[in-house]
């Protein structure tokens, strides 16, 4: 408030000055003007759509007595959710997707641990900085391009893997898992690297001084300390796999993931697609709630 009394320029009172003074004195108004646009956008365009989708998932189609015409019933019911739980194929696909998400997470973790350890604890500072950039950049290099590249590489007829190594997982579940593990690897390396970088070297030295060999130090000291970082990385690898459906189409052969069913049903039976799409969302909410207790969310 000092400005209003000390500064003589304020007495000139141009329109801009007056607006500025009003805003300065009313933080709430300032907040409303700042937040109004973005919040309205997010609520109208996005949250509204999400709620609408949730409502849609409670509708269902019903055949009329002739069995020829499908009628949309808009009385809320859990019919679609019941169908998700009761139908064998939907359960199988859900478990397959969860299994793939777990597999991708484990593969990425096993690759990320040594790489991140090298980056954080062994590489010289300039190498370390270069490596962070080098690991992050491919994330942005075209999701679909990378999927296509793996299609070219996995192809049992003439693909790199088959020609050079004599074997290729080919197009199927394992090919999809390999491709997804490739796609999301940087999401695991970077958080694990930050966790290791924050880990004081003195802890590792203390462990060595007390007689622990490298392996034991890693298991007993390093791993427990960087657990939140690992969980943070796994949120990305797990969630991204859970929602993916393009890679199954590109390198999965006939493999179907949750997303493929949602995509297929989307045009045929939107209420059911909406209900099935809540499966990954619910899984992620449970996963995030579990991760929260380990303090991993601060790592994101």
């Amino acid at each position: 408030m000092a400005t209003t009394t000390i500064d003589p320029m304020n007495n000139r009172g141009g329109l801009r000055r007056r607006i500025s003074r009003v805003l300065y004195q009313r933080p709430r108004l300032r907040l409303a003007l700042l937040l109004g646009g973005p919040l309205t956008w997010l609520l109208v365009a996005y949250v509204g759509s999400l709620v609408a989708l949730l409502v849609t998932s409670l509708y269902h189609f019903q055949s009329d007595p002739t069995g020829l015409v499908q009628r949309l019933v808009t009385t809320p019911s859990t019919t679609n959710y019941q169908r998700v739980i009761d139908t064998q194929v939907y359960r199988t696909v859900a478990f397959r997707t969860i299994g793939a998400a777990l597999a991708v997470t484990v593969i990425d973790l096993l690759i990320a641990l040594p790489v991140a350890f090298y980056m954080a604890k062994i590489a010289r500072p300039w190498v370390r900085r270069a490596l962070v950039v080098a690991v992050t950049m491919p994330l942005w290099a075209g999701y679909l391009v990378k999927g296509y590249a793996w299609r070219a590489m996995l192809d049992p007829a003439g693909g790199v893997l088959h020609e050079v190594f004599g074997r290729s997982p080919g197009f199927g579940l394992s090919g999809t898992i390999v491709t997804l593990a490739y796609l999301w690897l940087p999401y695991m390396v970077i958080p694990v690297y930050s966790g290791l970088e924050r880990l004081p070297n003195s802890l590792l030295e203390a462990s060595t001084d007390l007689g622990a060999k490298a392996g034991r130090t890693f298991v007993k000291v390093v791993l427990p300390q960087i657990r939140p970082s690992i969980v943070a990385g796994s949120i990305f690898t797990f969630a991204l796999t859970l929602g993916d459906f393009y890679m199954a189409q590109i390198v999965g052969g006939t493999t179907q993931f949750l997303g493929n069913i949602v995509y297929r049903e989307f045009s045929a039976n939107l209420p059911f697609a909406a209900a099935y799409a809540t499966v990954p969302v619910v899984i992620m909410i449970v996963y995030l709630a579990a991760a929260r207790s380990s303090g991993a969310l601060e790592e994101l």
């Binding site: 000390i6 700042l34 690759i111 491919p138 958080p191 991204l240 949602v262 994101l300």
Partner: protein
């Protein structure tokens, strides 16, 4: 912890191998774009700019390129404005529901793309809006807001409030303080946020699948629609290379501008 010399070399070698695997697929496609053979079979054969010439003259990829750029420019412009406003609101004010607001901002990239996609699609449908460039831009802007927000908010948190207070004490009004002090200090963060938003939008396909009008093919959609047609593979290789360059260059620039803040959470 003592890591023996052989173990150090082993870790270095493993890291190098992982980097090779990370970059090989991308470089392989770039190499294929100047292949003489039509197939993507190993090994690549010969060198030729034939496919680049063909892609340049083909209307499909060019239209798709312009559509992608148009979408990404519009979406990142909207995201730049909304994300910046939101970052000021959330870093400079404490209010009830603040956590809820930041949660809602992150939601579009935290939920699987397919959920965001079908939600927006059915939202448009309910509101009676036909799919078009407009609906696509709205969708992209929605998930780009958080990218800009992350970058700008990180910069605002680092800015010392004493600079703005000094400006106010010297008699500047809010707009002058913003124009002379705050804006110059956050300019590079704004640019970095916008570049990342551009790259994210340019590369996006899942939400795009559900929110682009019929026949409105962005570059990633064009690649997907053509990668199963053996005759079009040479063009796909060229277009894929262009996509990589056009998404990595803005991110590289953003990285330079934002003192290494382009991390995983930026995405």
């Amino acid at each position: 912890m003592y890591v023996s010399r052989p173990a150090r070399y082993a870790l270095a070698a493993f890291t190098a191998l992982v980097l090779l695997v990370l970059y090989f697929p991308i470089l392989y496609i770039a190499r294929l774009s100047i292949n003489t053979a039509r197939s993507y079979a190993w090994p690549p054969r010969g060198f030729s700019l034939e496919w680049w010439r063909a892609a340049y003259h083909a209307s499909g990829p060019r239209d798709a390129l312009f559509r992608s750029i148009e979408t990404a420019l519009l979406a990142s412009a909207i995201a730049l404005i909304l994300g910046t406003l939101a970052s000021f609101a959330l870093t400079r004010h404490r209010f009830f529901g603040r956590n809820a607001v930041s949660f809602v901002a992150v939601l579009p990239i935290a939920l699987p793309g397919i959920v965001t996609g079908i939600a927006l699609n059915s939202g448009y449908h309910r509101a009676g809006i036909n799919l078009s460039l407009f609906t696509l831009v709205v969708a992209h802007a929605t998930f780009c807001i958080v990218i800009v927000y992350n970058n700008v908010a990180a910069r605002l948190r680092r800015l010392s409030p004493s600079l703005e207070e000094a400006s106010a004490d010297l008699g500047a009004d809010l707009f002058q303080t913003f124009g002379y002090i705050t804006f110059p200090l956050m300019r590079s963060a704004l640019l970095a946020g916008a570049l990342l938003a551009f790259a994210l939008s340019f590369d996006e396909i899942v939400v795009t699948t559900f929110t682009a009008g019929a026949g409105f093919e962005t570059l990633p959609l064009w690649i997907f629609n053509n990668m199963f047609r053996p005759n079009n593979l040479p063009l796909v290789n060229v277009v894929a290379t262009v996509v990589v360059v056009l998404s990595i260059v803005p991110v590289y620039l953003a990285q330079r501008l934002s003192d290494g803040a382009v991390g995983v959470s930026g995405r």
